[in-house]
């Protein structure tokens, strides 16, 4: 009889969880729209509830960003010190604080920051410090747009959160440049990309099969060996795309791995707590016909 009771109770709990989960799944259609061509999986190490970032990959990704992307794309929300946060590309267990991390200080020093002389107010350029933000390649948004055919290159700070598919999408896009499909009427200053969002129907001859993807203003930014990696990794386009996608995924939410680890503890705690509460519930209600 006790077993039967437990099974019943379990069924009820499961029914409840199913009901709640079902309702939350009903939320999903909002996300499905506009994702006709799902991106390729990058097989990233940080996926899943236990996934963590590969620090070597983040460092390589940062290098690709700094040497290739950063010449057009800003990352306004990033400070150099963020690179040395726990879990970040340059975190060092010996560091006193992220701001005092030696790698980050050296990296920041490589850039020149526009500032003023604190005594005279005269504009000047000084070496970067770990407290500085990543410098924006353009003095203002208008200049960025003017230099890029009218549309400013998007800021990359939260790019992995701002596109459906996240890091997979970035990886796919960077490796998605392909030969222009036959019959596609290219627009001037545009490039064809298999994973760019859009609808190419108006640009294809009547009746022809419409290729996936869309137009993108950015020309293919990567070529094999473009970046010299500091480890033994071969800098293929595929590898660089993967690395920079991982780096941007980290930068979009630098605390995600720590949060997942906290979450595991929270779930284990709640699970035990739920068990204890359930036992108390059964004991208090024992003998009550209801």
């Amino acid at each position: 009889m006790t077993l039967q009771m437990n099974i019943r109770a379990m069924k009820k709990t499961l029914a409840l969880i199913a009901a709640v989960a079902g309702l939350s799944l009903a939320a999903q259609p909002a996300l499905a729209v506009g994702e006709k061509h799902p991106p390729r999986s990058g097989g990233f190490s940080f996926e899943g509830p236990f996934g963590t970032f590969d620090q070597g990959q983040l460092q390589r990704g940062y290098k690709v960003y700094r040497e290739v992307c950063a010449s057009c794309h800003s990352m306004d929300l990033m400070h150099f010190r963020t690179l040395a946060e726990p879990g970040g590309p340059f975190y060092d267990s010996d560091q006193v604080s992220p701001a005092e991390n030696r790698f980050v200080r050296a990296l920041a020093k490589e850039v020149q920051i526009a500032d003023i002389d604190t005594e005279t107010g005269e504009p000047l350029m000084r070496d970067g410090t770990s407290a500085d933000r990543f410098p924006n390649p353009y003095p203002n948004p208008t200049a960025a747009a003017a230099a890029n055919g009218g549309a400013a290159p998007p800021d990359l700070s939260v790019m992995a959160k701002a596109r459906g598919g996240g890091a997979d999408y970035i990886y796919s896009l960077l490796t998605g440049y392909a030969a222009v499909p036959q019959g596609l009427q290219m627009r001037p200053g545009q490039n064809y990309n298999k994973y760019m969002s859009g609808d190419l129907t108006p640009f294809m001859p009547e009746g022809a099969e419409v290729p996936p993807g869309g137009f993108i203003a950015m020309a293919n930014p990567l070529s094999d060996g473009q970046v010299t990696y500091d480890d033994d990794t071969v800098a293929s386009v595929d590898q660089m795309s993967k690395d920079v996608a991982a780096y941007i995924a980290w930068a979009s939410d630098p605390r995600q791995v720590q949060r997942k680890q906290t979450g595991m503890g929270v779930l284990i705690f709640l699970f035990i707590f739920a068990g204890i509460t359930y036992v108390s519930y059964r004991r208090i209600w024992k003998g009550v016909a209801h």
């Binding site: 009889m1 939350s24 939320a27 909002a30 929300l77 979450g263 709640l270």
Partner: protein, 442 residues
């Protein structure tokens, strides 16, 4: 069950002194000893969950407001700064953001439970009406809050929704400008939305006190739906504490586990990626959609070809809930004993889910396959436009046609004389999810 005798006896001198001046301890103690029908099932635990949701939203919201900057130039970056530089800021923000979704999951279950067991019928109309008011305020608060991060969906969502006001004849245009604080959505709009988003939760908290007061006065409904006569009170009710505190507590913890899965592992799964693109008045997103919990109402809005008509229908879809107690002609509260109505109820739930699905789709997109059928008035029959219209029609028919008619024509099942009776004779379909079983007696 209604307003029960107080059993609180002040013991210490301080308690006695306080009890004759401000009987606040008595108030709390009376709540704890409130006689509660012992057959309440798990669906009845969502009230407690909702209370917790409100507390979580207010607590996290107050901390967020300490760091947030309501300025169009800085709002987006300030939200990201909270997640990057404020201690625990990523958790606070994600709890608040997902908390809104959790709040709505719980409130929808809570409302459907009330609908199923007839908790809106006499003498509980005021509990229901105040509840509807809370729901309406929740929608307003959630909408205002969604604007604050100043992403693309924030901006364009605000644009679409405030434009609805402009559809009202004659006064629409001036009221629209007054609400926005200018001819377009801008800094003035963001500032007042922030102010109101901070205000409304406290109005909700006030309404919740009224909701509880009305509940305390009229007494809890229960799955059998009958009023418990005074003489049965001892047999059929249990004090709220510890019986229901522990039961609610257990479900709250299970609910928190679901909450945690979203916050810690998939914090952005319920949101739209476009809201991480800073607001840009010059670039319209290809597809403007509200948060998932507004989708059924958004679908109703779009189902009507006339803009003002759509606005009226959308507000009517919420407004109808307020008059629900007078649309239902049945004397029987619980749908457990109304098999016909139960079927319509299940259809209503499925219909509402389809409406939500439709709200997220492009109206012209085909529902099944990629083929065209025929043009009916202004759209292909195989399109979300028409699916939305059919489901909208059922939504209103449920309240205005089915509810009054079924109540007059149906033959309800035999209603037990006491709530203990079905416990001893076994439950029925809905009790699969209810803790009512004969075996438990032993």
């Amino acid at each position: 069950m209604s307003a029960h005798e107080s059993t609180y006896v002040p013991k210490t001198g301080v308690e006695k002194w306080l009890d004759t001046r401000l009987p606040i301890i008595r108030f709390g103690a009376d709540y704890m000893s409130l006689p509660t029908p012992k057959n309440l099932n798990y669906w009845y635990t969502f009230g407690g969950i909702l209370m917790l949701c409100l507390v979580i939203q207010i607590a996290t919201g107050i901390i967020l407001a300490m760091h947030y900057v309501p300025n169009t130039e800085m709002a987006f970056a300030s939200v990201e700064r909270i997640m990057r530089d404020v201690n625990g800021g990523d958790l606070i923000r994600y709890v608040h953001m997902n908390g809104a979704s959790m709040f709505f999951i719980a409130v929808y279950i809570h409302m459907l439970r009330g609908l199923y067991y007839g908790s809106y019928k006499a003498p509980r109309e005021m509990i229901w009406i105040i509840g509807c008011l809370i729901f309406f305020l929740m929608i307003a608060t959630a909408f205002l809050g969604y604007v604050l991060p100043w992403g693309q969906m924030s901006y364009w969502g605000a644009e679409v929704i405030t434009n609805l006001i402009g559809a009202i004849p004659v006064i629409g245009e001036p009221v629209l400008i007054w609400l926005r604080g200018g001819p377009a959505i801008d800094n003035a709009t963001l500032n007042r939305f922030f102010s109101l988003h901070y205000l409304l939760p406290f109005v909700i908290a006030g309404c919740e006190v009224l909701h509880m007061w009305a509940l305390h006065t009229a007494g809890q409904n229960n799955p059998v739906g009958i009023l418990i006569p005074k003489e049965r009170e001892k047999k059929d009710t249990l004090p709220f504490h510890p019986y229901f505190t522990v039961k609610d507590g257990f479900v709250i913890i299970v609910f928190l586990m679901l909450f945690s899965v979203f916050v810690f592992f998939m914090p952005n799964a319920l949101g739209h990626a476009d809201n991480y693109i800073p607001a840009n008045p010059l670039v319209t997103p290809p597809h403007i959609v509200p948060e998932w919990y507004m989708l059924p109402f958004y679908a109703i809005l779009r189902a009507i070809p006339d803009k003002f008509g759509g606005v009226v229908a959308m507000f009517a879809s919420i407004g109808v809930l307020f008059v629900l107690p007078w649309l239902d002609t049945s004397k029987v509260r619980s749908m457990r004993y109304r098999p016909t109505m139960r079927t319509f109820f299940i259809l209503f739930v499925i219909n509402a889910l389809i409406l939500g699905w439709c709200g997220a789709q492009l109206p012209d997109a085909p529902v099944i396959g990629d083929f065209k059928t025929f043009i009916l008035i202004d759209g292909d029959l195989n399109s979300y436009l028409w699916l939305t219209r059919f489901t909208t029609a059922y939504y209103f028919a449920f309240f205005f046609v089915i509810m009054p008619l079924v109540g007059l024509r149906e033959t309800p099942k035999q209603i037990p004389a006491t709530i203990s009776e079905p416990v001893l004779s076994g439950g029925d379909a809905m009790t699969a999810a209810a803790p009512a079983s004969a075996e438990k007696k032993g």
